[in-house]
Symmetry: C2
């Protein structure tokens, strides 16, 4: 085949604090020929995940993922269709989700995290990167195995308008809990209660902040805290935990943008007296249970119990700016990039 252009987004600078547009650059490269055992993905959607910010720091590799290198394509999750294949397990036409790079085409050999999708025709394929993908599954398993939500309990969710938070909030409602979400603007608060159906929402930037918001909206204390941010917010929540409360440590957004360590919770003594549990979990531990979870959540999506909260940026060249906007609190729900050139 003739040489093809592949547009990629390179990491041009290790972000300092919140990522900026200039940390990324969209460039044209040429796509090499496929080797033995490789296959070519035409990427349809890129997933933007706050968690990946962590590995943009210099030397941030941690045994879970390697650090990203300067002038290399940014690492991320993609949803793509196999267009050519020299691999026995992946056939032309297969729809795959894999950990790849911010680029229009990916050459893969199946060694990275990858799953073959059998998309439901009533469901947008982009759902498999979000509400039915890693972020949605994070919410699902975190609430099930760490939160262990019971009907009537009070569940508090940080970054409730984000991809994980918006799914966790909705699942907690389905499980019969009273659900309170935290977010950064009154507008997003209104979206949480009116669109997603939460019982209450806290604008943590309002007067009194998290403390006043919890006092007002969780007068019976907090039974389950689904924590996506860590830091001071976690600390404040600890002071409001009920006995035997569970804190699902899902993410620590407040630390992703810092090069210095961020002070953790001051209120650990409260964890002792309340016999609380703080537990970290990784969605990748549940790979074998993904199909059953996706099936259950697909049912909720079709019945309207679960809404696909999603924002779509268009075009590879908007990937970096969309990622930066996410850290400014600009998105509601899952943020994905649709690669229009690749559709149809």
């Amino acid at each position: 085949m003739s040489e093809r252009i592949n547009r990629q987004v390179l990491l041009r600078a290790h972000p300092v604090g919140a990522p900026r547009d200039t940390d990324f650059e969209c460039v044209e490269t040429s796509l090499p020929a496929l080797g033995d055992g490789e296959f070519l993905l035409r990427n349809l959607y890129l997933s933007l995940d706050a968690g990946f910010r962590q590995w943009m720091n210099e030397g941030a590799g941690d045994g879970y993922l390697p650090a990203m290198e300067l002038d290399e394509p940014v690492m991320g999750l993609v949803l793509g269709r196999v267009e050519e294949s020299n691999h026995p397990l992946y056939a032309v036409g297969d729809l795959l989700m894999c950990r790849s790079r911010w680029e229009e085409f990916s050459i893969a050999d199946g060694s990275d995290y990858m799953s073959k999708l059998a998309p439901d025709p009533e469901i947008s394929p982009s759902c498999y990167l979000g509400i039915l993908g890693p972020t949605g599954l994070t919410a699902y398993f975190g609430l099930r195995d760490v939160g262990r939500v019971q009907p009537g309990e009070t569940v508090l969710i940080s970054t409730a308008a984000g991809a994980v938070g918006s799914t966790a909030a909705q699942i907690a409602k389905i499980r019969g809990a009273r659900v309170v979400g935290m977010t950064s603007t009154d507008e997003k608060c209104k979206w949480l209660t009116d669109f997603l159906g939460l019982d209450a929402a806290i604008n943590y930037r309002a007067a009194g902040g998290v403390e006043a918001g919890i006092a007002q909206h969780c007068p019976q204390g907090v039974d389950v805290y689904f924590d996506n941010v860590g830091g001071e917010t976690l600390d404040t929540v600890l002071a409001h935990l009920n006995e035997r409360a569970r804190v699902a440590l899902s993410g620590a957004v407040s630390t992703y943008n810092t090069s210095e360590p961020v002070p953790g919770p001051f209120n650990m003594f409260k964890v002792i007296t309340q016999r609380a549990i703080l537990q970290g979990f990784m969605v990748t531990d549940y790979v074998e249970e993904y199909p059953a979870a996706i099936e259950e959540m697909t049912g909720w999506l079709k019945s309207g119990q679960l809404k696909n909260a999603e924002e779509v940026a268009i075009g590879i060249e908007n990937t970096g700016p969309a990622f930066c906007r996410m850290f400014a609190g600009g998105n509601r729900g899952k943020l994905v990039v649709r690669l229009t050139e690749n559709e149809g």
Copy 2:
């Protein structure tokens, strides 16, 4: 009966930082007559517990225990024998452990935490305040239900020369773990390895501190951390946790002496990626299981597998100074006060 003198230790000042001798005063008071439903305890031993420091701060009541008031007797655990009784459940001669006050005689009505002891004749009664009492049981249940120690795992213990730590370290050895203790002097390190039989000990005041000590003595990482101190030490340990590690939050000595909140762990992200659990627990949740635990530990004491690490101060007037010495790291094992006037 004629009026009797009762010597008590009063809280004269809310300690600022580490408690000082002058925060306490031993005074003579007169013992009132017994009311209906009350009984008189002649106290044999007072238990000195770092955890009670917490409630010496002004307004420190927290739903678990009330704050201690100035010019009132200091709250604490005592071991006493019933000398007079107007209470149907407590007879003259009964040996009781209860939450009472630092005093030679206590009038009680059974409403406070209290247990009737059937002491083993081969065991010193003081054991029931320490290794067979709340501190020993804290170690026992914390390792069993939170630590869930498995043979061959590496168990790290803070304040390993303290009452809880010295028992936890020994029980972890009995459970087949490799046990590393942290303490504040080379002399206590030697005591931990030579007398208590730990596999290694870390002097956290030595060059390199906790970080270097863990790197040297826990090269395979930490599977269980029995945390009595919280604060920076907890933070450092988090960075060394193995996958699925368990942190038993037993105490937070590093915070008891502060009036300002102490920064908690910075390394919460590590808790996520390692799927670790930080869990608070309170020994008082296990009251129904105390007898079985005491029986098992009594067996270990008699067989010599478990040593009663204990230091005994003599006389009510030495109670305050002994308590202060504990915060300077001066004791090894459980610290109790024997009230000599009350013996025989």
